[in-house]
Symmetry: C2
Subunit: 352 residues, 2 copies
């Protein structure tokens, strides 16, 4: 276990933790005492049918969802819904390489798949909250991968689904993107096969990783229009070093790579022997597929291919000048679109 003040209640809390006990993993092995960190906004009604689940994205925690997506008067309104945000395994807050006791810590943390997160979340929702039906599962990026896995794996529980900027089955291009992120970190001598003593020993690799995110995570127009000003930055360097490197160098390298590995292999067709068409056919949720128009790795074209295979689905393209980082909601128009689509989805009738 490594001390890292970034993953603190002060910065990302308050959160609750729930133990899923010894948790068997898709690829074999288990996490001895799987801790899920979650946050609940709003109350479960008597019929327990007003729950919304939000899984988290890469390197983000429940805090960013709370700050950017949930609020009174918004589509995800805690006055109406019981909104449960569950931090993914490897997030640094739920069980992760850096916070797991030896011998399963760091580089020895087992391989975790999107399906493991979804199965653990299912345990939390059904065993702890006694929820039998979800009004909506919504998430962005790796959150969207979990949304798809939920809708395919537990169709009877998911009444509505909103994957924002993510795929049901990851693409070859996006897999390669994960590779260059991984290599940016593992090429740092400080990485030491994952056995660094402090994440700051890997700061050069984390900085490279942050720079790759700037190139692929935003989009050319973001830089052409100097939209980094919306992040409070005063120059390109201030955005790259002050914001991007400032953000990612606080994080744990093993935690990030645990998530990268999962993200690269997100694939609902593992439920149907590799048949993506059959997997997506299982989805009974009313589904809004919401790619971001300028996203460089979760593209509209690839999202659309999947959307067409989902029965009760619509393609709702989100306009943003921020590429994938549109998810960070630095544009007022972004929130307006998200709230409009999610509001419409939530108010649409679906069979129980």
């Amino acid at each position: 276990m490594i001390e890292n003040p970034y993953y603190s209640q002060e910065l990302h809390g308050p959160w609750q933790t729930w133990s899923a006990g010894s948790f068997e993993l898709e690829d074999g092995g288990n996490i001895p005492d799987l801790q899920l960190a979650y946050v609940q906004h709003g109350k479960l009604n008597r019929r327990k049918d007003n729950a919304i689940l939000i899984p988290t994205w890469y390197s983000g925690t429940s805090k960013v969802m709370e700050q950017l997506y949930i609020g009174k008067g918004r589509a995800l309104d805690p006055a109406k819904y019981c909104i449960i945000v569950v931090n993914q395994i490897g997030s640094g807050i739920s069980s992760s390489p850096h916070n797991t006791p030896p011998p399963w810590n760091m580089a020895k943390f087992p391989r975790v798949r999107i399906a493991d997160d979804v199965r653990a979340q299912h345990k939390l929702l059904t065993e702890h909250f006694k929820i039998k039906s979800l009004a909506l599962v919504v998430g962005g990026s790796m959150g969207a991968q979990q949304v798809y896995e939920w809708a395919v794996r537990y169709p009877e529980l998911v009444r509505r689904a909103a994957p924002i900027a993510g795929y049901a089955k990851n693409t070859d291009h996006d897999f390669l993107y994960g590779e260059i992120l991984r290599e940016a970190i593992t090429s740092d001598a400080g990485w030491n096969d994952g056995w660094y003593k402090d994440h700051r020993e890997v700061h050069a690799g984390l900085r490279r990783h942050a720079k790759i995110w700037s190139v692929m995570g935003l989009c050319p127009d973001f830089f052409a229009s100097e939209s980094w000003r919306a992040f409070g930055c005063t120059s390109l360097q201030d955005f790259q070093v002050g914001f991007m490197e400032g953000l990612f160098t606080q994080m744990d390298p093993n935690d990030l790579l645990c998530m990268v590995w999962k993200w690269q292999r997100g694939d609902v067709s593992r439920n149907t022997g590799g048949d993506l068409r059959a997997a997506l056919k299982r989805i009974s949720a009313k589904t809004f597929v919401m790619p971001i128009d300028t996203d460089m790795f979760f593209t509209v074209a690839d999202c659309k291919r999947e959307q067409k295979l989902i029965k009760d689905s619509q393609l709702r393209i989100i306009k943003s000048g921020g590429g994938h980082f549109g998810l960070f909601g630095f544009e007022a128009e972004y929130h307006e679109q998200i709230d409009r689509h999610l509001g419409e989805l939530l108010s649409s009738k679906v069979s129980d």
Copy 2:
């Protein structure tokens, strides 16, 4: 000087070399004996007004232009034109870090700018060939950067210009792209601050660099449609390792980084005290600006912004499923478009 069989007459020749003598550089200092490697296709007519200049792109040589862009019956027809392809400084064939004698070799090779290439090419064309007017300057990627510099710096010499997939002034986004390419190589311990004994000592960095090219140099649809089959590859791995790593691991790291540095800083507004509008206003050539629609770093939007500032110009968007690597001409439709646009440009009347 380092032995590297990749940069041989067998693989990239036959070429001629011409010495520009001691050549002073934009950023100060000089190359003691600047060697320019060039190839001539077709003959100069009596009026010396049928010359076409092609500068080369990043990591490419005159050979790829010969194989893909020049040919009898094509727009760039050696039966009609005297086509001169000049390998850029740092290409590995003209003066470059790996083939320059000590003490100016390797990491001590001076910083070279796009404008240095263009001034050296100008010397070759006016002093050696006695050319006073160019029918066309055309090039892709870094070749396009040189085309722009030619049209701004020597407007009286350039009758027509065709920058394909490149900018007159590089963007912040593309600058960052250059940074991650550079860091992929310099993060390799074998790089040794540029003082490796054999380029193979840096193969891990060159492989990372090749993988970043796969992510940014192609485009998501290239992978979705498995267009690597057009490169003769049988799988994603065969494309990534067999083609991409196979190609880039043969090259010299210092040569590549010499070109990256130049590419990142390509900027015609250096001729006009930073005023891009004034620089592009200097262009008198009839200009076809030809971005590739799926290019992830030389985007249509950014190319269009520049095109609008050029008097006698048109935007001719090239459709390709290969992103920036559309330049490699693996699609028949690509060549058809290039030949159609360049043919129209070459047959259009311009004032001498």
